[in-house]
Amino acid sequence: MILIGVLVAVSATLVWRRDGIDGVLEILFHDLRLFGGILPRVLAGCLLGAFIAEVLPHEKVSRSLGPNSGLKGLLIGTAFGAILPGGPFTAYPVAAALLTVGADFGATIAMVVSWTLIGYGRAIAWELPILGVDFTMWRIVISLPIPVLAGALGRFVFVRMYPKRAEEPPV
């Protein structure tokens, strides 16, 4: 967060030197409005994450999405990411909730990547109208294997980077 703060300060200074104080204020007001607009959705996302963490049975999640869940866990993560409603304000709190209730990095990566690449929300709302049906369908078909592959690669690397945690017996 400190790094981001520094980056923001440098960029704001550059904007100020280029466009003066008006440029800085214009962006500030625009972003404040945006910020106000997304706050309710962020609240909804946080509540959704907390409720999901409560509703999902931990043993079941760690069995079906945990380190030993195999290909099935990656496929479940991918399917979950693809059907999840809402935008980043739901995807990330829900992904964080999955991690806390026992999903491993692999399945969670599959979910996040699937949400960004094949989630229908963004494709229908933005990609279809802007890039057209042909390109969008073509891009989605090509992207289909990526969440599972990314999750598998994540799991493969994770086990080798943190061997101790992976050796823990399944609960």
Binding site: V8, V15, L28, C46, V55, P88, Y92, L99, F105
Partner: protein, 166 residues
Amino acid sequence: MTAALLIDLTLWGSVAALAFMVWRRGRPVLVSAAREGTMDFINIVPRIGLGVIGSGYIAAVIPPEVITGWLGPDSGWLGVATAVIAGAATPGGPVVGFSIGAVALKVGGGPPQVIAYVVAWALFAFQRLILWEIPFMPAKFVWFRAAVSLPFPFLAAALAMAIGKP
């Protein structure tokens, strides 16, 4: 506007449905889960604030022409590599990312490069990482996920080259 309304309806509908499921386990469970969610929200607001307001400034100092220029036609694997960097560097929401992809296609950018661009943008657009992923997820997870995702825009471009245009 209607799309946004639909998103909000689905979102709050899901919240309500899950709240009902939690409530069936007892009122105290619902209250404690709701309190936990609200605390998460309160903790995240300052970070989102920095992300939203800050990324506006970062976006303002990156000229869009730079990004379109990188997606030149017949640029081969070098073009794919620059498309990946351009995708990660593209500021703004979905409109900006997809519009730049559309412009690149119109001015003759190669479809594999544009695929690589859109996929890279979906996977690592810095603004989404700063604004959404880092505040919500453990930092270790975010870096790990980004690193693991690195080969995939290239794989998508390779698939696009192998399959050909639709």
